[in-house]
Symmetry: C2
Subunit: 215 residues, 2 copies
DNA sequence: CGCTGTGAAGAAGTTCACAGCG
DNA sequence: CGCTGTGAACTTCTTCACAGCG
């Protein structure tokens, strides 16, 4: 759907999208430091990237800079937030209230911008009915009907690997369009669902490789 | 020691390295299912990738397959583990025993293959001296001498954003060569140190973008 | 005949270098 | 004069397509 607003956001490459949240964080830091204007070199330093790439990335969102000056921090932050869809409040559900799930629930960085936890699910009878963080009561995922009624945008899976696929199936059936999976399995979801895998042990193994290489 | 075995591991591209841990996980699943041989199509399905790419990736490690058959699961798993340096036990320290830190400490997936927690640090006086998971006692990072004595390979940072850079500096000074940072800041480390950033809120923001894009 | 290994083609992403505007 | 915006060069990654071996 070629968006009525005529944005050319569709053309923003994935690699750029992955960097925008980082730029946004840098801009928030700049705001906290009362810096009103920043140039591509400054953003590159703060984000650990390259200035030319920063310009290319930002240019995908439009011509937001002023030649000879740089970018207005507030304007740019607002623009990135809008492109990332953070101006809309996203409704997020957590499935699997283990330690990691609990950590995410109480992780300030989320609720911060655009994300609201709307439900917590677990299969453990001892946990169901108890209060999780954020004032939410832990429920059973069996109530798929309940899930549909939540109109959740994003689901975060922090269950054991063995249950992750069936949880994902339930979520997809309930209309969830985006899944962030922390379980160490490759999930299969229909093409219209966006899936991101975060496997913590993969990260450690990559570091291990670099240690092995460096000797 | 420029590896007596004359490996050509140095030429393995980063993108391949990032996928090897995923292939390894698939092979472990195959082992659990008593599947002795697997072909590139099978690995591609299990890992959610493309068969040609799987072959290219694996071929970087040598000619490990048998034409007309596929790859011996055990042999391949062993080879990948060796390339990733998982045959050596890696000594990992955790800095910042918050909820996320606690979750990682007790996350089975780590201790599993090649990773051993050797110390836990925190600045909170109430936590120092108490037992964390894995039978470790929480210590103060002030004792940088202690840290050096640990001969840690990898450090995992789960402190608040504001303290992460100074923690990283301390770790680098103590000789740590690989850092996995969960704090939402861009860390600066010397070139010889490998750094990986995992920012959980970045992941959610990327999902948010895809929701926004899909209308 | 099936599946790996691989050159060649193609796509995607990054860096360069500078024109052009404020 | 400084910094953005951007074509063009370059590099890296992925896919294709098939030769070649078991």
């Amino acid at each position: 759907m070629t968006s009525v607003t005529g944005e050319r956001v569709n053309q923003v490459p994935d690699s750029t999208i992955a960097r925008l949240p980082v730029y946004l964080r840098c801009l928030h830091e700049a705001q906290a430091m009362r810096i009103p204007v920043i140039n591509s070199v400054g953003i590159a330093q703060m984000s650990g990237g390259n200035a030319a790439l920063v310009r290319k990335d930002l240019n995908h969102l439009g011509e937001l800079g002023t030649r000879g000056l740089g970018y207005d921090v507030d304007v740019l932050a607002g623009h990135i937030a809008r492109v990332l869809g953070l101006t809309v409040q996203r409704r997020v559900v957590l499935v699997g209230l283990g330690r990691l799930g609990g950590a995410l629930l109480n992780y300030g960085g989320f609720g911060d911008r655009g994300m609201t936890w709307v439900a917590v699910f677990d299969t453990d009878r001892d946990k169901i009915g108890t209060k999780a963080g954020a004032g939410l009561t832990v429920r059973s995922l069996d109530e798929a009907a309940t899930l549909s009624g939540l109109a959740a945008d994003i689901a975060v899976i922090t269950t054991p690997a063995q249950s992750a696929q069936s949880v994902a199936d339930t979520l997809v059936a309930a209309g969830v369009l985006s899944i962030l999976n922390f379980a160490p399995v490759t999930l299969e979801v229909p093409g219209h669902v966006t899936l991101r895998q975060v496997d913590l042990s993969v990260e450690l193994q990559i570091l291990s490789f670099h240690l092995a290489k460096g000797l």
